[in-house]
Amino acid sequence: MTTKLMGEPVRRREDLRLITGRGRYTDDIGHGALAAAFVRSPYAHARITGIDVDGALDVEGVVAIYTYEDLAGPMAEPLPVLIPHPQLTAPRTGFPLARDVVQHVGEAVVMVVATDRYVAEDVCDRIVVSYEELPVVVGVDASRAAVHAVHADVPDNVAARHHQETGDVEAALAASPRTLSFTQYIERSACMPMEGKGVHAVWDADDSSLRVHTSTQASTSVRAAIAAKLQLSLEKVEVVAPDVGGGFGVKIVHPWPEELLVPMAAIALGQPVHWAEDRREHFISSAHEREQRQEITVGYDDEGRVTALDVRAWHDNGAYTPYGIIVPIVTATQLVGPYAVPVYRVRIDSVYTNTVIVTPYRGAGRPQGCYAMERTMDRIAQDLGLDRAEVRRRNLIGKDQFPYDHHLTFQDGRPVIYDSGDYEGLLDKLVALVGWDRAEERRAEAASRGKQLGIGMAMYVEGTGPGPYEGGHVQVLGSGKVLVSTGLTSQGQGHETAFAQIVAHELGVPIEDVEVTTGDTRRFGYAVGTFASRAAVMSGNAIALAARGVRAKALRIAAEILEADVEDLEIDEGVVQVKGTPGTAIPLRTVAVLSNPLRYAFDEAARQATQFAGPGDDSKPPVAVGDAPGLEHVDYYSPIRSTFASGAHAAVVEIDPTTWEIDVVDYAVVHDCGTIVNPMIVEGQVHGGVAQGVGGALYERMAYDSDGQLQNASFMDFLMPYASEVPDVVIDHQETPSPLNPLGLKGAGEAGVIPGTACIASAIEDAIGLRIAAMPISPTELYDLVRSPDAERVPAAIPGVPA
C-alpha cells in the first residue's frame, strides 16, 4: 500500500461543495414546478365541521385544492404504523389530510397547489375551515391523569405498555441493604435540521413513471410507500435523496403525508409539483422527542454497588404512533448503560398527547435512559458520600465479561448482548482528560472569582448499526473510475469520504478515482436507511464486502492475463501487479475492459485493452457459467445483532450566583466506536452531538401551553445554542473493535448527544448543591430553584406559558 487510508483523517470530499453553496438540495431541483402549501390545524384537538374553499377559487394562480374527500383508495386510509410491536396495543396514525378530527396544531387539513408558493399561501389564507374544539391533553402528567382522551377510543391515553424485566425486582429491592427513589423529568426538543423537509415530484405520463426527490433518510422505503399508496408498480417509481441538509432522525419517519400528497398531485395534474417545508411547519408538523417522566427506585449495597433497579416511566409520544414505540424501547434497553445491574425491571407507558408526534431524534431515547441511570449513580454517590467516579467504577461491566448479555430485547427484536468494550478504560481516560481529581482546586479558584464551579460526568453504551441489512455496489469502469453506491442516504455525515476510504483501501485504488452515490433508488434498490448510527457499520461493511468481491474478480482475470497465481498478485494505486515484480502489471481499468467480452473500441481504454486480450478458448463460452460481464460486485452485510459503542463525557460548569447564568467551561469526551475509519469525521460527529447535548440541557424546549399551542415555534424563541454557547470539546479516542463485523466498526453518529443532559445536570447539581429534577434548566429556573430549595424543580412552571 502506498497510501494508508483506513483510520486516516482524510478531508471530507463533500465539504467544498456543501459549504460553498454548491450543494443540490430538494429545493434546488426543478424550478418552475407548481408549489404546494398546506392549511394546517390551528387547534390542538378539534372536529372539522366544514371546509369552505369558495373564497379561494378566484385567486389568480390557484391550480388545485385537495381535502380528505379527494383522497382515494389507500390514500384515504390511515398512514402506516411503520414498526408495530405486540405491546403497542393502541397504535393510531393520522390521515395524509385530516379526515374528521385533528389531533395537534399543525396537522395538515388542506393541500393547495398553485403557480408558486406565494400564491399557494394566499390561497391557504382564504380557505375557511370550521372547527368544533375538543378538550386538549398536553404533557405526560395530564395524559396519565386521562381526564380527557386524545383518541376517543383510547380512554386511558396509553398507546403501549412496554415492560421488560430480568428477575424479581421487588424481592431484590427488599433484599438490598439500601434503596432510594426519586422522580425526574426531561422535556421536548427536536432535530431542527437546517433544511426542512421537501418533496419534488415529476410524473412522466408517456412512461407512466414517477420521479420523486425528497429530503429523506430512507429513500428506498419512501419509494415503496409511494408505490403502495398511489398504487403504482415499484419499478415505475424512483426516489432520490439529493443533498440533505441534516436529518437527525426526523427524516427517517416515512412516508410523511407530503411525500404522498405531492406525488399524488403531480400525477393528477400532469405537472411537476414542489413543496418545501418552512420553519414554522417544521416546528408544528414534523416531530419532536424526549419528554418523559421517570420514577426510579434503586437498591444498592454499602459500597455503592447496584443490586436492583426498578424504572417506571411515562413517555409522551404525541398525537400518533407512526414510528411505533422505538423511542421508549431504546430508553428501556439502553438505560443500563455500561453497568452490571443484577436485577432490572422497566415499565414505560407510551402515552398520547395533543402535540406533534414523537419519533427518534439523534439519541432516540438514549439521552433519557442515560439521564435516568447516570443521575441514579450520582444519587448513590451522594447518599454514601462516595466519589461519583468511584461509584461508577464499582458498577462497570468488566473488560473480561464480554460478550455481556443483559437479558433484554433491543429495538430490533434481538438480544441486548454487548459485543465488546472497555468501560474502565473509558473512565480512566475521562478522569485524566477532564482533571476530575483537581475539581476541588478549581472550585476554590472559581469561588475566588465569585463563581460556583461544578463538575459532572455521564457514561453511556449505545447499540449501533442494527440490521436487518445494507448493501453495496462497487464497479470499476474502463476509465479507471470506481463507482460505489449504497441505498442508505446521507445528511452531511461525510459518507462520500468514509465510504471512498473503505473502497480505496480494500481495492487498492487512489481515493480520487472513487465516486460514491447514496440514497438513489435508481442506483441501489435495497436499503433500510440512515438512523441508529448505522451507516458506517452497515453500508461500510457491505461496501467493503462488495469491494472485496471486485478485487477477487479483478485478480482472477489479471492472473489469467499475467499468467500468474492469484496469491502472487496485489493491487496498488489502481494497478494489478505481481508482488515484487513491478514490471508484470496491468491497470485495473484495463482489467475492467477485459471483464466484458463485448469490447467495441469506442475509446482509447478499449483499444489499449485489446493488446492484453488473448485469443480466447474456443471450447468455452465467452462468459463462463456463473460468471458475469463487467468488473462489479454487489454484496450485503446483515449483522447477527447490533454492535455496542460506548463513551464517557464530563462537563465543568461555572454559575454566576448573582445572575444564575450557567457557563459550560470545559467539556471532555472519551469515545469508543470500535475501529475508526476517519477520526476527523468521528470528531465532527461528536462535536455536533455535544452541541445538541448542550442545547437539550440548557436551551431547547418545546413550550406548549395548556391549549396545545407551541409558544416558541420559531428560531427567535426556540433557542439552539450558537457556536458561542458550545464549549470547546476535548476528545480522546479508545478503539475496541467489534468482533461482529468485518471492519470492526461501531456507530458514531448519535453518541455525542447522549450523555449531555445527564452530565450537565450533574455538574450544575455539583455547583449549587441542590437537586436538579427536571431538564433542561435555564437561569430563570435556576433562580427559582435556589429560592425554594425544598421544592424539586419540576416542569410545572415554564415561565411565560400559562399552565
Binding site: T658, D784, P799
Partner: protein, 289 residues
C-alpha cells in the same frame, strides 16, 4: 412563510417618499433595513399594501457629530455607530449599546433609526435614546419637527407618529461633563435580544461625589423609561458608593413582565445586579472625564 402581495415603491427623494405614503394611506409602511419588518411580512403578521423603501433617499445616511450631540440619519446602520469613534467620544453609549444589537449580519442592514421607529422595548437604541434625553425628527408632508423621546414612545411597537411620516434622524445629546456611562445586558445566547439590559449614566461633582445616577433598562416594561436612582447614592464617593442600594432601589421601580425566557422576578433580579455593576463602572469612568 411568504408575504402576502404588496406594492413596492423606491422613492429617490424625501418628498416623493412622503407623497407615496400620503397617497397610500395608513396601510403603507416605511422600510429601512427590513430586519424587523420583513420577518413580520413573511410570517404574515403584517400585510402592508405598500412598502416605501427609503434606501434610495439621499441625505439620510450621515452621522453628524457636534458638541451638543450626535445626529444619526435614518439610513445609518447599527454598524455605522458601532465603529464611529467621533460619535463615541461625544456619546459613548452609542457604540456601547450597538455592540449589543443582534449579530453582525443584522447590524450591517438594520438601522438605528429604524429600531427606534420600531419602538421595541427589547431594542437597545430605544433605551439609549431615552437615557440620553434624545429626540427624533419626524418629516411629514406638512414639514419636519422634533419629537422628544418621552412623547414618541407610546407602547410596545407603537409610537405617537401616525399618518404619512418618515423619521429622518435621531438626536442623541452629548454626555455632560463629569459623567460616565456603562451598558451591559444579559441574553440567553450571544447576540440575542436581551433578557434584561441596563444603560446607565453617573455624574460626579468635583469631589467625585455622586450628583446623579440614572438608568434605563432593556426588555423591562412596555416603553423605554428612565429611572433616577440618585437618592440611593447621592453625595457618596464614586469609589465607595453603595451601588447595591441603587440596585435595590431600581428593583422597586421597575415593573417587568415574564415571558418564555425569564420570569418577572428574574428580570427584577437582573435589574438589580446590572444596575449595581454598571453604575460602579460608570462612576469610575466619570472620574476621568
Amino acid at each position: 412563510m411568504k408575504p402576502a402581495p404588496f406594492g413596492y415603491a423606491d422613492p429617490t427623494s424625501l418628498d416623493e417618499a412622503l407623497s407615496v405614503l400620503e397617497s397610500e394611506g395608513e396601510s403603507a409602511k416605511v422600510m429601512a433595513g427590513g430586519q424587523s419588518l420583513l420577518p413580520l411580512l413573511s410570517m404574515r403578521l403584517a400585510s402592508p399594501t405598500t412598502l416605501v423603501d427609503i434606501n434610495r433617499v439621499p441625505g439620510l445616511d450621515a452621522v453628524v457629530v457636534g458638541d451638543d450631540g450626535v445626529r444619526v440619519g435614518a439610513l445609518v446602520r447599527h454598524v455605522g455607530l458601532l465603529h464611529h469613534a467621533g460619535a463615541a467620544a461625544v456619546q459613548p453609549l452609542l457604540a456601547r449599546a450597538t455592540a449589543n444589537v443582534a449579530h453582525p449580519a443584522i447590524r450591517n442592514r438594520g438601522t438605528t433609526v429604524g429600531s427606534i421607529a420600531h419602538a421595541d422595548p427589547s431594542g437597545e437604541m430605544t433605551s439609549v435614546l431615552a437615557l440620553t434625553g434624545g429626540s427624533v425628527t419626524v418629516a411629514t408632508p406638512a414639514g419636519s419637527s422634533a419629537v422628544d423621546w418621552a412623547d414618541f414612545f407610546i407602547g410596545p411597537l407603537e409610537t405617537s407618529v401616525h399618518g404619512p411620516a418618515v423619521v429622518i434622524d435621531a438626536f442623541f445629546p452629548a454626555l455632560p461633563a463629569r459623567t460616565g456611562t456603562a451598558f451591559e445586558e444579559i441574553s440567553r445566547r450571544k447576540g440575542d435580544y436581551a433578557v434584561c439590559g441596563a444603560g446607565v449614566t453617573v455624574t460626579l461633582d468635583h469631589d467625585s461625589r455622586v450628583t446623579s445616577a440614572r438608568a434605563s433598562y432593556i426588555s423591562v416594561g412596555l416603553v423605554p423609561e428612565v429611572h433616577d436612582l440618585t437618592e440611593a447614592v447621592v453625595g457618596q464617593s464614586a469609589d465607595t458608593a453603595d451601588w447595591a442600594a441603587a440596585g435595590a432601589l431600581a428593583r422597586t421601580l421597575v415593573d417587568p413582565d415574564g415571558d418564555l425566557h425569564a420570569s418577572a422576578d428574574y428580570r427584577r433580579l437582573l435589574v438589580g445586579v446590572l444596575t449595581e455593576r454598571t453604575l460602579a463602572r460608570a462612576a469610575q469612568e466619570a472620574q476621568n472625564r
